[in-house]
């Protein structure tokens, strides 16, 4: 493999169309005869629909149709949940595309209007009269599970969607032998992903041929086609899903949504292309949220800081219905990672998935792993304090030593490779930790409130072997695919099943091909996002596109090289065994001057005038790659905060991230992923929270009320790395998309707690706004456990 282009921070191939404004996102498409849909959404968190009057809306100017629940009920099957978590008593409630009798969260769809213009469609929404009988609601997952609470679904007693248990080792013995037990109640607040592009769908039906074409802001067009086929009945061969330019996802564009299917229904019923483009307000209400756990955690240890066991109960709010992948997020992707980078001899976690009168909760950047990392990293800090040790020393004492090819942990996973202690030591050296601690003492002596926060993590990504996917109830495979197609002139098309939406694989995958077969990176075009032209793939989420799709691509290029070598040997009248390869040229060993370039071979393969016996014309290879294991990137992060004693404002002064995603195809893109990830995690620690009031109204329903990170609130983030290749990926790659988010929330949290430790503050509910920090400081003693999850 040439190292010149692999590992080079070249500019992205995607960018010219994006910086000039000519890129086309779903809302930018205009089709002949296109009309516009708008959704009427429930203003109630929980209500019975007594009557709907749509007559006035139907007569409004420009209106083509108004549909309510009963109009679509026979045409559309229920919105599917595709992660059927086993051994958890999973109860999947019916998720109607348009509600027929009951609404269960503010944002549930009640009716759809189709009109000539979006303005007319929204006007007509106002003319629909719905007679609701309001019902009591509940949005706190812990509360919703208790007796006497409002019941969301008749067939789901106590709103319990599932009860999943993760157990390994002898947890009772761990606590029996404990010399120290530390406890914490952690609220992982509800977050709203807020990809800058709202969701949108455009559907075009050809009644004559029975073909449905869908443009959609999806992270996984092939899954959307699969599920759309199930819900609409249009066969897969007649259903084309296109994810054009997609403006960020962060998990919120994984799910197949009611509005997607309703838009398809409208197009099929009217025979007109129908576009639906959600408003930001709608995005807040109806596009999936993230996190929303209430956790009770306790850690058993010895006085010397040795961890003996971790026990937890987690109440996970799922919202009103189970979204596409929702059941797997607070369970498989959370509980199995609870031991983090440490030797934890025993673990037990009970996870209750609970229906609540809130927006459905799905994967959100990190998806289960930030919540696991927060738990163990918070407990390690508390342990350090309890036994009077430095938190870095407690971490090093318990860390799994360096391993290169598999390490079994108590939850049943086998981490692929890692060197956690060396990385943490690198961080400690880089930040001059001991000096910082001394400076902190000096600052404290002057009345300043300064805190140092460390967080380490290991995450599970590169999802994942399909056999495991089946065992854990995921209703699909988790392999990826790639087609590498040479053209006669030696230019290359790459078709992938995954569907990047900002991560830059049009560039990094071209770098892989260029480095593997010796063409120029400019000669490789990467195509994705269209189910009619790309091979099946399971999509871009879980930091898996490079880890799995990239591996498929490497294997496809190897097939290309094998065939090219045979053709070259034939053209050079040599034995295949005598052939050698370097930088795009095949030659007889010892005679590099007389070789054939990959471009020459491609031309000969296409004209096919002189092919070796039994070798097909053309130069193309296709691979479906199913990984033998997950990948396990890891990192060590550091945050330095200073708190204003007067106002409680937390100033993030410095942030250092060291991440290990294996070898880096393009370090500039890796750094960009870390920047964005870190800031999203900082947002959770300091600013972001979805708040429902007692009536289930979303109080933080706009960008005015929900505090997204802004440019002026952040310091420069220092990004460093270590490189520990994955033993099972053909290039050792692991994935980087979620890393920053997984570590940064708890790094900042630990820093704030470190700052406030001398004041006796032990917990502050996130986000740690100035008001909450100020209040905690006034008490100057341990706060009461916060109420929360609302």
């Amino acid at each position: 493999m040439s190292t010149r282009i692999f590992g080079s921070g070249i500019r992205r191939r995607e960018d010219p169309r994006l910086i000039t404004g000519v890129a086309t996102y779903t809302d930018d498409f205009v089709l002949p005869g296109m009309v516009h849909a708008a959704m009427l959404r429930s203003p109630h968190a929980h209500a019975r629909i007594r009557r709907i009057d749509v007559d006035a809306a139907k007569r409004a100017p420009g209106v083509l149709a108004v549909y309510i629940g009963k109009d679509v009920a026979t045409a559309l099957k229920a919105v599917p949940c595709a992660w059927l978590l086993p051994n958890a008593n999973l109860k999947i409630a019916v998720y109607e595309a348009i509600c027929t009798q009951t609404v269960r969260y503010v944002g549930d769809i009640v009716a759809v209007v189709v009109a000539d213009t979006p303005y007319q469609a929204y006007d007509a929404l106002d003319l629909i009269v719905v007679d609701y009988e309001a019902l009591p609601s509940v949005t706190d997952p812990e509360l919703a599970l208790k007796a006497g609470q409002p019941q969301l679904h008749a067939d789901v007693p106590n709103n319990e969607a599932f009860h999943w248990v993760c157990a390994g080792g002898d947890i009772d013995a761990a606590f029996k032998n404990a010399e120290v037990v530390v406890k914490e109640r952690i609220i992982q607040q509800r977050l709203i992903p807020n990809a800058m592009e709202p969701r949108a769908a455009l559907a075009q039906w050809s009644g004559a041929s029975g073909e449905l074409t869908v443009w959609n802001t999806t992270q996984n067009p092939h899954i959307l086609r699969f599920l759309s086929s199930v819900v609409t009945g249009v066969p897969e061969d007649k259903l084309r899903v296109i994810a054009p330019e997609v403006g960020g996802g962060f998990g919120s564009k994984i799910a197949a949504y009611p509005a997607d299917f309703v838009t398809m229904f409208c197009a099929m019923n009217l025979g007109r292309p129908v576009k639906w483009n959600e408003t930001r307000s709608e995005n807040f209400q109806a596009t999936t949220h993230g996190r929303n756990h209430v956790q009770e955690v306790e850690l058993a240890a010895k006085k010397d800081g040795t961890i003996l066991g971790l026990r937890a109960t987690s109440w996970s709010g799922m919202g009103a219905y189970l979204s596409t992948a929702a059941p797997g997020i607070p369970t498989i992707l959370h509980g199995l990672m609870l031991s983090g980078v440490y030797n934890v001899p025993a673990i037990k976690e009970d996870v209750y998935g609970v229906y609540t009168n809130g927006t459905p909760v799905e994967a959100y950047r990190g998806a289960g792993r930030p919540e696991a990392t927060f738990m163990i990293e918070r407990m390690v800090e508390k342990l350090a304090k309890a036994v009077g040790m430095d938190p870095v020393d407690v971490r090093l004492k318990n860390m799994i030593p360096r391993f290169e090819n598999g390490h079994a942990v108590i939850t049943g996973l086998s981490y692929d490779s890692g060197d956690y202690p060396a990385q943490l030591k690198k961080l400690v050296d880089h930040i001059k930790y001991k000096d910082l601690r001394r400076e902190q003492q000096e600052a404290r002596a002057k009345g300043r409130i300064v805190g140092i926060g460390i967080a380490t993590y290991v995450e599970i990504c590169g999802l994942g072997p399909s056999q495991v996917a089946g065992a854990i109830g995921f209703q699909g495979g988790l392999w990826e695919s790639a087609i590498v197609r040479f053209h006669p002139t030696g230019k290359v098309h790459v078709f992938i099943g995954a569907s990047p939406h900002g991560q830059g694989e049009e560039t990094t995958f071209a770098q892989i091909v260029a480095s593997m077969v010796g063409v120029s990176v400019d000669d490789v075009k990467v195509v994705h996002g269209d189910t009619d032209t790309t091979p099946m793939g399971w999509g871009t989420y879980g930091s898996r596109t490079t880890a799995v799709g990239g591996a498929a691509l490497v294997l496809a290029t190897r097939k290309i090289k094998e065939k090219a070598k045979v053709i070259a040997a034939h053209l050079l009248e040599a034995d295949v065994e005598d052939m050698d390869y370097l930088d795009g040229k095949f030659f007889v060993k010892g005679s590099p001057d007389k070789g054939k370039t990959i471009q020459e071979i491609s031309l000969m393969a296409h004209v096919a005038w002189n092919m070796p016996a039994g070798v097909e014309a053309g130069l193309e290879a296709s691979t479906f790659y199913d990984p033998p294991n997950f990948t396990y990137p890891f990192g060590s992060h550091f945050a330095l905060v200073e708190i204003d004693p007067e106002t409680g404002h937390v100033d993030l002064k410095r942030y250092v991230a060291i991440d290990d995603c294996g070898p880096q195809i393009n370090p500039v893109i890796v750094e960009g992923q870390v920047h964005g990830g870190v800031v999203q995690g900082v947002g959770q620690a300091l600013w972001e929270e979805a708040v429902y009031d007692d009536n289930g109204q979303l109080v933080t329903g706009s960008l005015l009320d929900y505090a997204l990170p802004r440019a002026d609130l952040l310091p420069e983030i220092e990004v460093l790395s270590t490189v520990t290749p994955s033993p099972h990926h053909p290039l050792g790659l692991k994935g980087i998309g979620e890393a920053g988010t997984i570590a940064s929330t708890v790094a900042v949290y630990n820093a704030v707690m470190d700052a406030l430790g001398p004041l006796g503050v032990e917990t502050i509910q996130m986000p740690m706004t100035a008001e909450r920090v100020w209040r905690a400081m006034q008490h100057k003693r341990p706060q009461a456990a916060p109420q929360g999850g609302r």
């Binding site: 403006g247 930001r280 920047h675 440019a711 002026d712």
Partner: protein
Amino acid sequence: MRVPVSITVNGRRFDREVEPRQLLVHFIRDLGGMTGTKVGCDTSQCGSCTVLIDGVAVRSCTCLAVQADGASVTTIEGLAPAAAAGGGLHPIQEAFWNKHGLQCGFCTPGMIMASHELLKHNPSPTDDQIRHGLEGNMCRCTGYQNIVRAVREAAAVMGGK
């Protein structure tokens, strides 16, 4: 009711009859083809729809088309008109590309137009000034760091220090 307006967009005059309530961003996006200006929110918070009206950066979702009657509007497509045909980029566009100042690209047109405004008033901003100058434009992908680097580079190229 429809009202006649005459709005010049990227150097070309458009005479249209519009509903008084039509937002400028929808006017621009409906002209045919010029969809670079994005609608990211409905409360004028995100800045994705930022355009220049007579040289001043304005959120085109807070402005009615009728308010722009007689004005000259520049959108991302008009910043370096030859770019779409493969010609030269504006230095700010080039800097966003060079510094990996975008990922999904959705906030980028607004971010570039806001940067244009920032550099007009302060040709050689400090990092803090860049961050404050762009606080009204939201990006969920980049964490802003490479955007700051891009604006810094653009300032240098455009003659600031």
